[in-house]
């Protein structure tokens, strides 16, 4: 298990001075994950908040080698880097152990980059892909994605006279990735940092592709105060909105079970993006959201052999 004392001694690969918002969950996720790597690492990032805020020319916040190519191709890009590494290693032109990781937001992963990711996973490159899921296109001003939950306000799912925010449920990306039958898939939270770092370590040191989906609260897009980031991450887990589990070589395992799951309203209430959904006239919407969470949880318990 990851020890705070040891983790805090490591130099951050993502240095301070970047321009992500105060309280941005993405930077916390990146730091925790990269602290689990004991070898030199090449980082790729999709276009999005993480990339634009860490590589404003002529500056870079990255202490490791880093490549940004475009929005939808972080997985294909890192697969090229990894392929060159394998080629040069086979030819004896390189002997160092190196690791490869790509970060993409939910837009760059659930939506526009899904094909590129699916292809790279199927080909079996030895790399880690992390989705820092903040449930919308934040970099371009909070537009809905297929990771945006039902009932949420975004600038392209606004709460209007007839449509009350996003009408669809979010896509189960972690399940879709698990269906690729890659060696390691996990869902994690920056609140359970030790669980996340352990998962990241497994992901780095599993041969073949590994995938982590990390909910990354966004104070700006979710409309909550920036000091409440970890609290939001915690509520997402305690309400079963964001269950923590892993799928290792096809075996599903639940990593956290709340003693008593909190009602979804506790997760919704601190967030301005749910304001409209929480109006008395939308009581049924909240009930349906709660039912969806409970149904998903039941299915997960069965998959994990807990039932």
């Amino acid at each position: 298990m990851a020890k705070l004392k040891e983790v805090s001694k490591k130099q951050d690969i993502l240095s301070s001075g970047h321009r992500l918002c105060a309280g941005c969950g993405a930077s916390i996720a990146v730091r925790q994950i990269l602290s689990a790597c004991d070898d030199p690492v090449v980082v790729a990032s999709a276009t999005g908040c993480l990339e634009v805020a860490t590589t404003i020319y002529p500056y870079t916040s990255w202490r490791s080698s880093f490549i940004h190519n475009a929005f939808e191709n972080a997985a294909a890009t890192i697969s090229g880097v990894e392929a060159m590494y394998q080629s040069l290693k086979k030819q004896g032109k390189i002997d160092k152990e190196m690791k490869f990781i790509a970060f993409g937001g939910d837009g760059g992963t659930y939506d526009i980059g899904l094909q590129s990711l699916s292809g790279a996973l199927e080909r079996g490159h030895d790399f880690v892909y992390v989705c820092y899921d903040n449930e919308a296109y934040m970099n371009t001003g909070i537009q809905r994605s297929s990771a945006t939950p039902r009932g949420v306000w975004t600038t392209t799912s606004p709460c209007g006279e007839v449509i009350p925010g996003k009408t669809q449920y979010r896509k189960d990306l972690t399940g879709i990735i698990a269906a690729h039958k890659i060696p390691y898939v996990a869902q994690a939270s920056i609140w359970r940092w030790s669980d996340l770092i352990d998962k990241a370590h497994k992901a780095f040191y599993t041969k073949g592709p590994a995938f982590l989906n990390v909910l990354s609260p966004c104070p700006r897009g979710w409309r909550f105060p920036s000091e409440k980031t970890i609290k939001m991450a915690k509520l997402s887990v305690q309400t079963n909105f964001w269950p923590l589990y892993e799928v290792e070589n096809g075996k599903w395992k639940l990593n956290y079970k709340p003693k008593e799951r909190k009602p979804v309203t506790e997760w919704m209430e601190p967030q301005g993006r749910y304001k409209n959904a929480l109006r008395p006239e939308n009581k049924q919407l909240v009930e349906e959201i709660q039912k969806d969470i409970d149904d998903n949880w039941e299915r997960l318990l069965i998959l994990c052999g807990e039932k």
Binding site: P40, V42, A44, E51, V52, T55, I56, Y57, P58, T60, W62, R63, S64, S65, F66, I67, H68, N69, A70, E72, N73, A76, T77, I78, S79, G80, V81, E82, A83, M84, Y85, Q86, S87, L88, K90, Q91, I94, K96, M98, Q115, S116, S118, G119, A120, E122, R123
Partner: protein
């Protein structure tokens, strides 16, 4: 005939060049008429004849994306495509050039959709002419083979470090069987040499950032540098050609002149149609007609001074474009050559002939008709129609 002369298709010749180049990484996706190249290369991989890590991507967008990652990582990288495949990777084609990654890509010219069509025209590579890649056009399988090998040396030259597209005509060259002279493996290995990495991602001692956000305070300077870099590739292209002639006996330049020096009228045309045109020139010369041909090889960087100068003595010239530039004053070859000719006081009368879209055949009579028209223009000094379409039902 030397022992290395074989009857082979253009695709197999290009695949053989890639085998001999033996890149560190190849990432490619099949599309007609390039498919046979990828299939052939897959066989080389399956038989262990190359050291290449072959990335069998799920799309051309990922092909170019993986090429960018692999080239930035620090090694020799190739791919190949055509038409819709090139269009799909377009976004990353630009990124490859602006990141100064020396990727080499055969493009088997095919009409862009829509409507969907699998046959030859140059709309695909012409659409990419402003992407920052160098462009070499090949008349036949031999040139496709030779240009592919030379492209590696040009792209990887430390004064260039830019990606290169090598074009040859879909079906006409890609599937036609021709005699091709292959160089020995050793000769090609020595010619292309070992890859020299430049700012590789795979050096943990020297971490660096590729692809930063570059706003109004620096972007323009970087684009200005790009303009300079591609211009500076011209002498390198010529140096490489000279060296290549030493190992192959085959001369290459920025363009090929055929019976041009004393010609009164001439046609400018790319790729396989230049082969047909040479036949017509020979026949017409036999009848005492002073006709000639200029076949551009390098379209990017465009050798505007050299081409304009080579055409300046003519009375009339027809520029044949196998792609249109809808709404523009002529096809891409015409607009660039006509504009270049402004550099040299006396401008020959000129017309643009847009032909062969979607694989529409052009034959010797068509070409002879163009020369006859030029003759009439030269005599009368009058151009009836500046931009014309040849071989289309109006």
């Amino acid at each position: 005939m030397s022992k290395n002369t074989v009857a082979i298709t253009g695709n197999d010749a290009a695949a053989y060049a890639i085998k001999q180049i033996n890149p560190d990484v190849m990432a490619a996706y099949p599309i007609t008429p390039q498919t046979a190249l990828v299939q052939k290369f897959s066989e080389y991989v399956a038989d262990g004849l190359v050291k290449t890590e072959f990335v069998t991507v799920e799309s051309e967008h990922s092909a170019m994306s993986a090429c960018v990652g692999a080239a930035a990582a620090g090694g020799r990288v190739m791919t190949a495509t055509a038409a819709n495949g090139l269009a799909l990777m377009f976004e990353i084609v630009y990124i490859a050039a602006s990141s100064k990654l020396p990727i080499v890509m055969p493009v088997v010219n095919r009409a862009l959709s829509g409507p969907i069509n699998i046959h030859c025209d140059h709309s695909d590579s012409m659409a990419a002419r402003d992407s920052g890649w160098l462009q070499l056009y090949s008349e036949n399988a031999q040139e496709a083979y030779d240009n592919t090998i030379q492209a590696i040396r040009i792209a990887e030259n430390m004064k260039v470090r830019l990606p290169v597209m090598v074009m040859y005509d879909g079906f006409i060259t890609s599937h036609g069987i021709e005699m091709v002279d292959f160089l020995d493996d050793e000769v090609v290995h020595n010619f292309v040499g070992d890859y020299q990495p430049n700012n590789p991602l795979l050096d943990p001692e020297k971490p660096l950032t590729y692809g930063p956000l570059d706003l109004y305070d620096y972007y323009f300077e970087h684009k200005r540098q790009q303009a300079e870099d591609i211009k500076n590739s011209k002498p390198i292209i010529l140096d490489v050609a000279k060296e290549f002639e030493k190992i192959s006996g085959r001369p290459y330049g920025l363009f090929e002149s055929y019976q041009l020096e004393d010609a009164e009228t001439a046609i400018v045309v790319l790729s396989s149609t230049a082969g047909t045109t040479k036949e017509v020139v020979d026949e017409m010369r036999a009848k005492g007609k002073k006709v000639g041909l200029l076949k551009p090889r390098v379209f990017r960087p465009f050798p505007y001074q050299e081409i304009a100068k080579a055409l300046s003595h003519l009375k009339a010239v027809a520029i044949l474009d196998r792609s249109d530039s809808f709404g523009a004053f002529g096809g891409p070859l015409f607009t660039e050559i006509r504009s270049a000719m402004m550099e040299f006081g006396k401008i020959p009368e000129n017309i643009d002939i847009i032909y062969g879209l979607g694989g529409r055949d052009i034959n010797e009579q068509d070409i002879e008709g163009v020369y006859n028209q030029l003759d009439a223009i030269a005599k009368s000094g009058k151009v009836k129609e500046r931009i014309q379409y040849l071989g289309v039902r109006e």
